[in-house]
Symmetry: C2
Subunit: 246 residues, 2 copies
């Protein structure tokens, strides 16, 4: 877990079992619902499950019937091809949804693996469609969430298609920082839950290149690195590094 910043909006120590009592509801699917609507969503989200570090939440090729909301923890999604190549397609944290890729073919098209002990809420998709026909806010918000995923993917394409190694890593760190901030954690200090290899796979780089970029950022005074513990010392420096291409 990253460092809590005092007074952050989220307290993970209190975990209720319904959306209506969930601290993540403003980040997650229930955004914008009334109290009465929230209760109806509660009925739907009945299955909650722990996923231990290293376990799969789902695997590519298996039948799709639910999407998943992360209540706590940290996941990666990846796609594997025959010859053993892996592409990490994303890292997901509390309040984010997993499994949207499975809707199109009714089978999951990637693997979702917990990078730390996590808890998820399963949302049966057929029932979500029923409910979203009745609750306009839910329908619209769900569409926004799917669209946001598409926009996020375009950002990754930009990163992979046009940036060099250090720019990619800077963008990655700034993105993590921003997402931790949104969850009430420190924007400047966090633990990475993934290995250099997984970061590399996400960024289209080899692990050695990732490691060298970390070292270089440290030399330049942008960050302090101690294995998986990262402290960002110069946000502006990282941003500048991202923007001037050469």
């Amino acid at each position: 877990m990253p460092q809590r910043s005092p007074g952050g909006p989220i307290s993970l120590s209190v975990i209720k079992t319904a959306c209506s009592g969930c601290n993540l509801r403003e980040l997650c699917l229930p955004l914008g619902l009334s109290a009465e609507e929230l209760e109806r969503l509660d009925d739907l989200v009945s299955v909650r499950r722990r996923v231990k570090r290293g376990e799969h939440l789902y695997r590519s090729g298996t039948p799709f019937d639910s999407i998943f909301a992360i209540r706590s923890g940290f996941f990666k999604t990846d796609v594997l091809i025959e010859d053993g190549r892996e592409q990490v397609t994303g890292f997901q944290m509390a309040g984010e949804l997993l499994g949207l890729d499975g809707i199109s073919s009714e089978h999951h098209t990637c693997n979702a693996v917990a990078l730390e002990d996590s808890e998820i809420c399963a949302i049966p998709f057929a029932r979500l469609e029923v409910l979203s026909r009745e609750i306009h806010t839910l329908q619209h918000h769900f569409h926004k969430v799917m669209s946001r995923e598409i926009v996020r993917d375009h950002g990754v394409m930009m990163l992979l298609g046009t940036m060099r190694a250090e720019e990619r890593l800077a963008a990655f760190l700034l993105n993590l920082s921003q997402r931790f901030t949104a969850r009430g954690f420190s924007h400047a200090e966090f633990y990475l839950r993934m290995t250099r290899e997984e970061i590399g796979s996400y960024l289209g780089l080899k692990l050695e290149t990732v490691s060298r970029a970390f070292s270089r950022f440290q030399e330049e005074g942008y960050i302090a690195v101690q294995q998986k513990h990262i402290r960002i010392l110069d946000v502006a420096g990282l941003k500048a590094l991202m923007n001037h291409h050469r």
Copy 2:
């Protein structure tokens, strides 16, 4: 336009103005709707528009209110960043939808440019949400289309993150071939509507690298290239090239 293969399922010479009469309905939003449901969709899709080659259908940052179905023609979507870098995020052809990225923020997040004279149908999004609350098939199919876009994006990430230049181009050509086939055109012979630079931007390569890869494919006998006219001579060869990494 790519070569028509005789007896293909689509005749572009007959263009009706309603979904119910549109030859693309099996590729496009109306998939799976009954005749009665189709009529209701017709009411919604009232604006049809020509977009000349080089013109923008929409621009990044402008307000979003409709998604667009391509009736005929060819588009690219791209994202620009300040320092002038461009990432082409996709090439779209008849029957495909444009603008899904705009739902999340109610503003378009990329540019859509016609690569040949094209025709589109505008689908007001708010009205689509209303109708999809009433027509379950439409709702579900729309969700599938959005999800398919996410899956497609993951494929592009895989391409950008793990493949080398020639693999990327092979994957690109095979993908185009497959999509032309689905539209009743020859799978082996087509005109590229985009420049080497646009292909390069999509594939995360410089135009010179794309050009060299085309030349090499021609030397190896995989394809015949004459500027924008491509003939695929050895599908299996291209597939093999994609799969063995080194």
